[in-house]
Symmetry: C2
Subunit: 284 residues, 2 copies
């Protein structure tokens, strides 16, 4: 059986047209190539070159061998590429979440406990997550409702309650709880891409008081506004990011401001992702 290194040298020679040029390409000495080509003929048991004593060219056998050699080399390359790709695919988990916080937690937990895995993630408003899971667009989803489907394994994941973060001089800053209704007069900064929270907040607050923050907006002006502005945080995000001592956080009393998340994967993939889900549920 003819080894790959011989075919590589052979193809390089054929493409460069001379042993010298090929040897430069391959970072090899000319004599090494000369010997390899002789060895190749030996292994085929057939002459592959016309030797005019000063120039080496392929003969008919050589040209036929060249076609095969190219095919074999490209198949060899394709093999390594595809296997690496396959490996990566099998170590990538795509997560769909209806909200940023539980996603951030889950990603953090996976990266800590399963560092060999790669995580892809998307935040959507939550309607299409179950379908995405079934179509294997996602391997794990985080939803606000428990999916009603026998082919899906679900865990109660965590609860999140909304607080409103106010400047200390805000009229509501002294309260121990507020309602969405009481915030209708206040301009509120709402980040982009917060999943189902967009829907909830938009249903309770007047559009004209909402300032949407695009990801590209994170500039000096925004930081300035954020100091003077009102926005939402949650009990969970306080744990994660700490509190801002310049500001006051007041819990919201509405039911809609208290959410429970569920985390799910396909039953058929429980062996792969069940451990991840359980681990992330178990840590604080």
């Amino acid at each position: 059986m003819i080894e790959i290194y011989l075919l590589e040298q052979f193809v390089a020679f054929a493409e460069k047209g001379s042993l010298l040029k090929a040897s430069l390409e391959l970072h090899l000495s000319q004599p090494a190539l000369s010997r390899s080509m002789k060895k190749l003929e030996d292994e085929f048991g057939v002459l592959l070159f016309d030797r005019n004593r000063s120039k080496l060219t392929l003969n008919k056998n050589g040209e036929l061998a060249l076609e095969y050699a190219k095919k074999i080399l490209s198949l060899n390359r394709e093999m390594t590429e595809e296997v690496v790709l396959n490996d990566r695919k099998n170590r990538t988990v795509s997560i769909g979440s209806c909200a940023p916080l539980p996603l951030r937690k889950l990603i953090g937990d996976i990266q800590k406990q399963y560092p060999e895995w790669t995580v892809d993630s998307v935040i959507t408003d939550g309607c299409d997550l179950v379908d995405g899971l079934k179509e294997k667009k996602y391997q794990i989803i985080i939803t606000q409702k428990m999916p009603e489907d026998r082919s899906i394994i679900t865990l109660r994941y965590l609860k999140e309650s909304l607080l409103v973060s106010l400047p200390k001089d805000h009229p509501l800053a002294g309260r121990d709880k507020v309602s969405f209704e009481e915030l209708r007069e206040t301009e509120i900064l709402i980040p982009d891409n917060i999943g189902m929270w967009s829907r909830i907040l938009e249903s309770h607050l007047p559009k004209e008081k909402i300032i949407f923050q695009k990801p590209t907006d994170l500039s000096i002006e925004i930081l300035y506004i954020m100091n003077r502005c009102t926005y939402f945080i949650s009990d969970r995000s306080v744990k994660l990011l700490g509190v801002d001592s310049n500001r006051i956080a007041v819990p919201l009393e509405d039911e809609d401001a208290k959410v429970e998340y569920y985390i799910s994967c396909l039953a058929s993939q429980k062996s792969k992702f069940g451990d991840m889900m359980n681990y992330s549920k178990s840590v604080i």
Copy 2:
């Protein structure tokens, strides 16, 4: 680039199911295989096996790699086979001849002067030889007429004159020449597969006096008959095989008993076969 020997060992392992069995198949030690499989994983940069500490099995990556490895190995095998076949094809000359004698001479000359060539040959009655040459069914043809075609190179090859070989007690044994007409009363043995001679002889001799000798007939009875029987030889075959001292050879005077042969190849293949034709023409 992953070398063939690794893929061979990998496929052997996959097919035998264990390193031990594969090592026996490959006439290799187990540790060598164990190391090779590790090296293979190294070169892919990816795990290919599930290691249960006591049993080695392919994982998903391994199965994908296996498919490619099999393809590459079979392509490699196909390559050597096809190149060797191609080489052989390019060293094989197919000869079509209208008669046995010039063919025998040509084959002998080629085998002597060009021992690396393989010769295929066919004897036909001569009608389809030119077509066969154009269709590359033959590379060299021997005909009785000179082909009238610009794409064909032709040489006068040799002449052959028929003699009749008679038992010494035959009525015509004392003559210095005879005609076909005079042989009409004599039973004559004619070998099978003598090309255009069949047509010539059948046109001059009565069917009921002809005994056809099939190749399978070469038995004691035939040898006995041949001693008592009459048959044709030629000046050329006398030179080649010598004379039988128990018999008398008398030349035939008819024009049809004197033949000149032409030897031809395609003009486009003159460089390949011109030398062979010239060489055979030049030797006695």
